[in-house]
């Protein structure tokens, strides 16, 4: 019904919208939007070009370089990237490493955050001070001892070693997020649970952790993003184990071996970027809220 009545007067709707866009108050913003839209198209052009180049022929990439859209679709580049350049394997490695690191990091930062937020234990002040001091530690600073200690623990050329080292990176911001959130939850909730006979673990896993869902979502996404995109550590952990490479390391290796296979490289890049881009587009709100949290806190 409504669709009919709306559909019967399309011209009225268009003109109303046009009036809305170009009203005296709005027209400067409409102009600004058009300008920014043009810039935004340039902005995403490299990514569009990559997706387009991944579907061109190996020579077509060079002859039609400035037009991002392929005339006919050539999926064989994906076969080459997936099978010959082993991006199928790399993608699986990246998924395994990322999911494991996210799981370990969420659990450990939530537990540490809860304890720091709620209990006075010996050395808490010191722990918090040390954590804050290491809020920002560049990988370039710690990487040599991390590799050496992993070597001594026989964890260097192994997937588990990579997972542990990535989970052991500071992740201080995540802990502080949990601390802040748990501190904001009224104590009465826990006390009520304790009166009902709940123990320490029940209180945490049944009451507090479910309440902290928004923080868990943020920490999950931020850790996922950081781990998926990580490069330095997976690079030095897989020097002698090419089969354990993640997509970021695999990309460098592929470019080193086949720098002229542009359509293959573009296909590999698309394989590497697509999962994280899709995740972002679906969960955009949470990504942006999580990242802007850094400013507000």
């Amino acid at each position: 019904m409504t669709a009919l009545t709306e559909g019967s007067r399309p011209s009225a709707r268009v003109s109303r919208r046009r009036r809305w866009l170009w009203s005296r108050q709005r027209w400067p913003f409409t102009v600004a939007a058009l300008v920014l839209l043009a810039i935004a198209l340039v902005w995403i052009y490299p990514l569009v070009w990559t997706a387009g180049a991944s579907l061109k022929t190996q020579t077509g990439v060079f002859t039609t370089a400035s037009n991002p859209f392929p005339a006919t679709l050539h999926w064989e580049n994906y076969v080459r990237a997936w099978r010959d350049a082993q991006f199928g394997e790399y993608l699986l490695n990246t998924f395994i490493v990322t999911i494991a690191v996210v799981a370990i990091t969420v659990v450990r930062t939530a537990m540490a955050g809860y304890v720091i937020a709620r209990f006075a234990f010996l050395g808490r002040k010191v722990l918090v001070a040390v954590l804050v001091l290491t809020l920002f530690v560049p990988t370039g600073y710690t990487i040599i001892p991390v590799v050496e200690v992993s070597n001594q623990l026989h964890l260097l050329n192994s997937r588990w070693g990579m997972i542990l080292a990535l989970s052991g990176a500071a992740h201080v911001a995540e802990i502080l997020l949990y601390v802040g959130y748990f501190r904001g939850i009224p104590k009465e909730l826990e006390e009520a649970a304790v009166v009902d006979g709940a123990g320490f673990l029940t209180v945490f896993f049944r009451v507090m952790l479910p309440l902290a869902m928004p923080v868990t979502a943020t920490v999950t996404l931020l850790t996922f993003l950081a781990t998926w995109n990580n490069f330095f550590l997976p690079l030095v952990f897989t020097f002698s184990r090419p089969d354990l490479r993640t997509v970021s390391v695999g990309m460098l290796a592929f470019a080193g071996e086949n720098s002229t296979d542009w359509s293959g490289l573009a296909a590999a890049a698309t394989i590497s970027l697509l999962p994280i881009v899709l995740l972002f587009l679906f969960l955009q709100r949470y990504f942006i809220e999580g990242l802007s949290g850094a400013v507000k806190s």
Binding site: L36, A40, A112, I144, P145, M251, W262, V295
Partner: protein, 336 residues
């Protein structure tokens, strides 16, 4: 941090005081015993909960921070089990190396150019996008943010193709438009390379600074803007007298967050230029990587000395961040 414990301590005192007085005699003693037993069990759980963090963080963050200092005093190739102690000679050698100073200069220059550009441009775009009269705000925000979530190392390879002098789409498009007559060698020429990677870096991370500014603009009280409008203030005046004062403390925070970001450019630069041509884009992290991992005979002690110096540089910037945030918070509090 003293703030945290100060806030918590009175709460505990209050609770124990509240529970204390009404009881008397044997009841209190028993209660106290029960509570002590419970606290001891809690203590166990507390350390159990901290254990994963203490273990992982200890091994992979704290130990490396401390061990770097020890490593930096060794002559060590990484193949032998142990290095030989050489005191501060690595530091002397690093500080004498003109390539170290080159990479230091590149790092500082990179930071000094990209941070103001990111912070300034992002503020302009954020102010425009924050206006409710603006059409397509969400779409535009998404587009500008998209490069942030992409993998730097992959983007580095992609950009090698995009910026290619002979068949890269950027050069070909510009030739078609008649802006240039022959391809510009963005990454291969020593006079262009650093500027080009700065451009790509700004493109890659602009979106995050934009999101920071948008978050900051959200804190501008809408009633205040409305009130100023009703009083007949123009858009520019509202911005100057209402928005700018609110944004000022955020300027410090956002600049410092952006600054800290900029120390981590390893992924993008290693994949895009590998520090070249002729070390023109070699930032400190690539310098460290070159001596520790890319050399046929690694010089772990020497690289660690460079890493410690880099760590100190990063620590100075982090300290600036902490001080800056404290300062801006205080001024925000006294201002409001």
């Amino acid at each position: 941090m003293s703030e945290i414990s100060a806030r918590l301590a009175p709460a505990e005192a209050r609770r124990s005081r509240a529970a204390g007085p009404p009881e008397s005699g044997a009841g209190t003693a028993q209660r106290r015993r029960v509570r002590r037993r419970r606290r001891r069990r809690f203590e166990l759980y507390i350390w159990l909960f901290l254990a994963p963090t203490l273990l992982l963080y200890g091994v992979y963050t704290l130990y490396p921070i401390v061990a770097s200092y020890w490593y930096s005093m060794l002559d060590w190739n990484g193949f032998d089990a142990h290095g030989t102690f050489t005191g501060f000679s690595n530091y002397a050698a690093v500080l004498k190396d003109r390539y170290f100073w080159n990479s230091f200069k590149v790092t500082v220059l990179f930071t000094a150019v990209t941070v103001p550009v990111r912070v300034g441009l992002a503020l302009v775009v954020a102010v425009v996008l924050n206006n409710r009269l603006m059409p397509l705000r969400r779409l535009l925000r998404t587009a500008f943010f998209l490069p942030v979530i992409t993998t730097s190392a992959v983007v580095g390879i992609v950009m090698q193709m995009i910026l290619d002098p002979s068949s890269g789409p950027l050069n070909l498009s510009m030739e078609k438009l008649g802006l240039i007559h022959h391809g510009v060698d963005y990454l291969g020429s020593s006079s262009n390379a650093l500027w080009s990677v700065m451009g790509v870096y700004i493109w890659k991370w602009f979106g995050i600074t934009l999101i920071y500014w948008l978050a900051a603009l959200q804190t501008v009280p809408a009633e205040l803007v409305e009130a100023a409008r009703v009083d007949g203030a123009s858009g520019v005046r509202v911005f100057r007298h209402v928005t700018v004062p609110v944004l000022k403390p955020f300027l410090v925070i956002i600049t410092l967050l952006t600054l800290v970001d900029t120390l981590q450019v390893f992924d993008l630069l290693l994949s895009m230029t590998n520090g070249g041509p002729q070390f023109h884009t070699e930032v400190l992290e690539i310098y460290i990587y070159r001596f520790a991992f890319a050399a046929s005979v690694p010089q772990l002690g020497y690289a660690s000395a460079a890493a410690v110096l880099f760590g100190l540089f990063a620590a100075v910037i982090t300290a600036m961040q902490v001080v800056g945030v404290r300062f801006s918070r205080r001024s925000a509090r006294s201002g409001s």
